[in-house]
Every structure is written in C-alpha cells, then in structure tokens.
Symmetry: C2
Subunit: 447 residues, 2 copies
Amino acid sequence: MRLSQLILPDLDEAFARDREAVAELFEELHTEDFADLIERAPIELAVQMLLALDPEQGAEVLASVEPDLQVELYRRLGPERAAPLVHEMPSDDRADFVAELPDADADALLARMDPEEVADVRLLRQWEDGTVGSLMSTDVLAVPATMTVDQVIGQVRTHGDDAETVYYVYVLGPSRELMGVVSLRELIFARPDAAVAEVMREEVKAVQPAMAAEDTARLIQHYDLIALPVIDDQHRLLGLVTVDDLSDALAEEVTEDIHKMGAVRPLEDSYFGTDFVTFVRKRAPWLVALFVGELFTGDAITWFDDVIQRATVLVSFLPLIISSGGNSGSQSATLIIRALAVGEVNLSQASRVLSRELAMGVTLGLLLATIGALRALLWGDGGAIAITVGLTLVAVVTLGTVVGSMLPIFLERIGLDPAVSSTPFIASLVDLIGIVIYLSLASWILV
Amino acid sequence: MRLSQLILPDLDEAFARDREAVAELFEELHTEDFADLIERAPIELAVQMLLALDPEQGAEVLASVEPDLQVELYRRLGPERAAPLVHEMPSDDRADFVAELPDADADALLARMDPEEVADVRLLRQWEDGTVGSLMSTDVLAVPATMTVDQVIGQVRTHGDDAETVYYVYVLGPSRELMGVVSLRELIFARPDAAVAEVMREEVKAVQPAMAAEDTARLIQHYDLIALPVIDDQHRLLGLVTVDDLSDALAEEVTEDIHKMGAVRPLEDSYFGTDFVTFVRKRAPWLVALFVGELFTGDAITWFDDVIQRATVLVSFLPLIISSGGNSGSQSATLIIRALAVGEVNLSQASRVLSRELAMGVTLGLLLATIGALRALLWGDGGAIAITVGLTLVAVVTLGTVVGSMLPIFLERIGLDPAVSSTPFIASLVDLIGIVIYLSLASWILV
C-alpha cells in the first residue's frame, strides 16, 4: 500500500472544500515524500498541489521531481508563476532545472530571473556532465580572514539560510583565494573574539571543477567529509559540492558500469522510463557486434570439418569447453573491473595480476579438466577424447583468466572504461580461440 | 610517486634525531593520510609512529588502518599501551576494533576498559554484520525536551567533542523516547530562550537496528540526510548512524553484487588482500557448478547425433546460437538486477517486465536472425539451414530475455539475492535449452 493510494483519490475534493487545511497538511510532509506523491498525481492536480505550497517548499519539490515532470509542470505553470519558485531554488538545482527545459522555455524563464542568477546559471552550466563543476553549488558561506569568530557566526545567522550547507565556512584571502576552513562545530567551541584565521584549519582538501564526480566521491568518502570546496587554478573559491550530490552521481556511475559489464549501453533513464526504441538502440549494437564476432567461430569450425566428420562426439563437448573459458574469464574480468573502480588495483600492478591469474587459471583448469576427462572416460568416449578434452580445458580456462584480467587493465591504460570489457565480450573472444585450440588438439591427438 | 616513498625511508633516522619535531609534523597530516602511511611502514616503525601521536589522534589512526594491521599493532603495543587509545575511539570504532581481536586479546583489553565502555561494546556487537546496529554509534547528543535552546547549545559545547556528529541533537521524552530532532543550524537561528521542544522538528526519520545497512543507505540518500537516529521498538533512542558509515557499507554491498553477477562468491577482503587458496574457494564452486550443469548440453547433443552426422555444417552455427541466447539473457539480467537493487522495478511489476522483455526478445531475435540467415545463404549452406538458423535465433534470443529478466525477479520473490542469477548462470541455462531447440528444429526441417 502506498501513501499516494490513500491520499490522491480524495485530494481533489479536499482542495475544493478547504484549501487552507490541505496546505497545512502539506507543510508536514518531507520534500522527497511530497515529490513522490506529486509524481503519482494527475498533472492538473500536481499543479494545484505545487501552488498550495509556499514558494520555498514549492521550489524544493519542483527541484526534486523527475526531469520530465519538471518540464511538464513548468509548461503548465508558465514562466510568470514558475519564476518565483526557481528563484528560491539552490543554485545547483536552479542550473539543472534550466538545463532540462527546451531552449525557448529556458529563454522565457531566464528573461524573468535576476541578472545575477542568470550569470550563475551560465557559470554552472559550462561544466560537462559527470564533472564536479556540473554538480557544485555557488551558495557557499565564505568570509574574509580578518573577521572574528563572533562576526562569522553572525554571517552564518544572516546568510546561512540560503547556503547549501552551514556546516563549513570557508575563509578567503584578499583575492578570494581559499585560505582555510572552519566548521560550525569549531566556531561554536571557539572564543567569540578570536580571529577566524586563528581557528581555521589551513589544510583544506579541495577539488577543481573539471574533476570527475566519481573520483571526488571517492575522496569525500575516504576522508569522511560532508562537503568539498571547489577552486579554480588560482586557488580561488568557486563553490562547493556536497556528499548527497556526489552520492547520487556515484550511484549513477555504478549503474552505468554494471550495464556496460552486461553489454548494455548505459541508459539515461530508469528501466521503465526508457522507451522501447531507445532500449533497442541501447541493446542491439552490442548484441550485433558480439554476433558478428561470433560468426568467425563458424569459420573456425568449418576448417576442422574433417575431424568433426570422423568423431562427431567432439561436438558434444563443444558448448562445455567454450562456456568454461567464458565463465573463468567472466570471473576474472568482474574481479578486476571492480578492483580498478574502487582503487584496490592500479595499472602498475598488471604483472602481479597476470601471474596470479595465470596460476588461478591453471589451478581451476586442472580441476575442470579432471571432471571433464572423467566424464569422457565414463561415457565410453575413449582415452584420446578424454586427453583432448582435459588439455583443452586447462588451456581454455587459463586463457579465460588471462584475457578476463588483462583486457580491463589494457582498456584502462589506453584511456577507455574497463567496464566495457563485458562478460559477453570476453566470452566471445575466448570462444573463438577456445574452439581453435580444441579442434587443433583433436586433429593432432585423434590422427 | 607516493607520499610514503618520500617520507618512510628517512623516518627512522628522523625519529632518532628529533622525536618532537617529527611528532609536530605528524599533527598536520590528515588521519586517513597518516593511516595510509602507517600501512606502508615496517611494523616496528609503525608502532613508533603511532606512539608519537597524542592519544586522540592515535585512536583515530588505529581505527582507520586495515583490520589485520590493527591486530598486529595491538599485539606490539600490548593492552597497557593500547587501552588509552581504545578509550579515545568513537563507540562504533571501538566495538569494531574489539571484534577484530582474537578472543584472548579482546579479553585482556576489555579488562582494562571502563565498565561503561565494556557494556557499550557488548551492546553494539550484538547486531549482525550488514545491519544498522553493527554500524551505529552510541555517541549521540540527546537532550530532554524541557531544555531551552541556550541550554542545548551549552550541551553541544560540553559534550560535542565526544559525539559522532554535532549537527543533529535529538530531543527525548521522559523515558528516553525520541520526540524530535533539532539541527545545529536551527539552534543557531533560534531564540536562545525558546524551549527546544518548540524549535525541534517532530517528523524524524528513524531506523531500527536490525534494518539492512543497504536499505538505510538508500533512505539517507533519498532524504539527503547526514545521519539517522536508531531506535528500539519502544521508540527509545539507541544511537545514530552517519552517512559515511553507510556509504562504506553501500560500496561493499555493490562490490558483492558485482561479484555475484560475475559468478564469484563475494570476497571479504580486497583483491590482493585475498590469499590464493581463499580465491580458489570463492571461484571454484560456481565454476564447477556451471561446468556440471553444462555437461547436460553434451547429452542433448548426442541425442541428435544422426542429424549432425548428416549435416556437420549445423555445428558451425552452434557457438553463434548459444552465445546469442547468453548475451541477450545477460543484458536482461543485468538491467533487472540493477533496477531491483536501486528500486526502479519492484516485484509487483513482473508482468510488465515480462511483456516488455518478450517484445524486446522478438525484436532483437529477428535482427540477429536476419544476419544469421543471410550468412547461411551467402556461404552457400542452403535455404533449409538458413531457415533453421533464423528460427532458432528468434527463439533463443527471446528465451534469453525472458529467462534473464524473470530469474532475478523469481529469486527476489523467494527471498534470495537476485544478483546470484549471474550472467554465466543464465548463459548455462539458455545454452541447454537453445541447443535442444536448434537441433530439434534442424531434425524437423532437414528431413
């Protein structure tokens, strides 16, 4: 049972009866809960609900709903009624909101905004998606180093309401360069008449706007921070990025990696939010590419047609052999791709990985070879087949671990995303070589 | 070039020359950087470095290094010198630290700790790994509802230093039940003589200690919080859990899911931190299980030995056909597993997923069938082969999308982790059925 199923059906009537009472009820809902509710409401009702909120809460809700609904709500509201809401948004949400609108709508809105806000939106939109710049906010508390603790607390009281976070206050030198940081906690503990420059920490972790959101998320996680300041190359403060902005970015990044590992081109929207044609476009290219690659296995098999003619029993081991190579390769690729992503393995350790995966391949290969050879003997396929299958399995499983572990490292080295070396991709590569090894060995042993 | 390469070689000598100066230098390093440094130092030097810190900083560093090194350092320090460091740790780190020690060492340490701390450690260790209880801290700022804002700020000043976070203060009723929450930000903005009960928000998101860390991380992310209070079933405050504790847990969870999807049993340690034998244990069971499953494909093929004898060209399409089923299944499984994990798809939507994936399977299958049939015709394998290959591809690709999408949903429904339906597992399932479809069609069409 969802909250929305209880609330929405009666809301129309309630609005008609007592608008004030409904508005009061809304004030108690958490922004995210209200956003969930509005996403499930019919669009006319959604507009009414949004207008029943005070502009500040309305701005938060509008910033939190799905991008498609943002555009739809904006169109229903019109620029005149939307502008006050957009004015109340935090700077990062405002820039994202404008970016979602089609150009004509965006222009109509920008024409109704403060020139300062317009400049700010332009500044924030200049950074590419996936960078810190695209996620940062300019609503940051910054004070000159000459202030006292008491004066800084005064600043927090006055300007804190519009800031992205009040938990860190940044201390700036004469030309806005970042000199240090002081937390609200430290301000509370400090003597009120102390200079903020004495209280601040000078060692500030900071990032530049072009840095990848993923790397920044790792930094913020490693140092257990709530926010990081963003600075330009002259060390001047541009804004800040918070842990919640980054964790969303990181979750998207993980989804992208997982999709790539499953040979799907990353989706921009959710599973049900992606339409059928887009889905075909995301899945077909990889599937066709893998199919075309796998066509070569057909050629490889026809080269060995005579040996197959002589012993069709060879065919019955074919799927077993190629899947074993694919599976061991899949394991290695999965381990290495994730280890690279979280920084457990770096590029300089390629040879250490190789020697480990070689040993692993031989060990696992021998294990499967024993089972495979036993099976051949027990089913009465004869010693020659058993030896062929056994030797092939050792070779193919080792091939799998080596290709599976080295391909992601190679891709990372040449600057591509290692997650592209998906399980199906590795399996296809190993299939072809595995078949050639198997049938070559068979031709040689079964003469 | 790492920091450690610059610092470590000269440190021994520096210690001998001027211990004080080195200690001063250490104070400027961030805890996490110091922990990285100490992890790379020889153990004797590591002990010296730790002892050069003041107990508070030493406690933070000891809590941050790898578990194995924690045990080793504890043994070198002995309970006498370790106890003051452990005393300074936050309650959650302290409980984790004690849990890492072998029983005898843990007992020696507990014997030297305050009875209150010992009770606290026991309380925190009662929760299973992966629950909020195992991650929470009891160092929480809580005040009675009768206090004024000014008194609460006084409490923050006095006790804030030991608290996990000072950004939220929890307001409790007469029997410690959670009545509300007030942020440091709100306290700063409020009138000093106002009652905290007036200023607090009564709508507090809270979790119970048995809740999965993963779900809690999602909650904290959804509502953009920094921390969540943990309450018992009588709504009494037990502790709190912070976003950085949870984000570590979430990253581990993602790694586990990715490993499962690649048919590796989740590792407890990092790639290089896992020894060879453990690795074999993590990889061999899945590999053997998949191998044994795939043995049945051999049986399936031998049933159709006569049709293969008649047309060995059929064999050359076999790897192509089974890999296409595996690849489309892998795509669907990847999409659905991730969509379930992030909550984009829920169990009640199974039929919507099924109809979508069916349509997707037929579409993608027709695409590959066209290429496959063309290939058969162009290579002169004849119309009957082209038709067999084409029909099989439509069937196998559709089979892949259906099995790949439904298996994760089925696993989630029966209470298993959907990530267990790994790409290799789906591929094996589809391989067997795909071979039977292919060779049955061939027997029927090629008579």
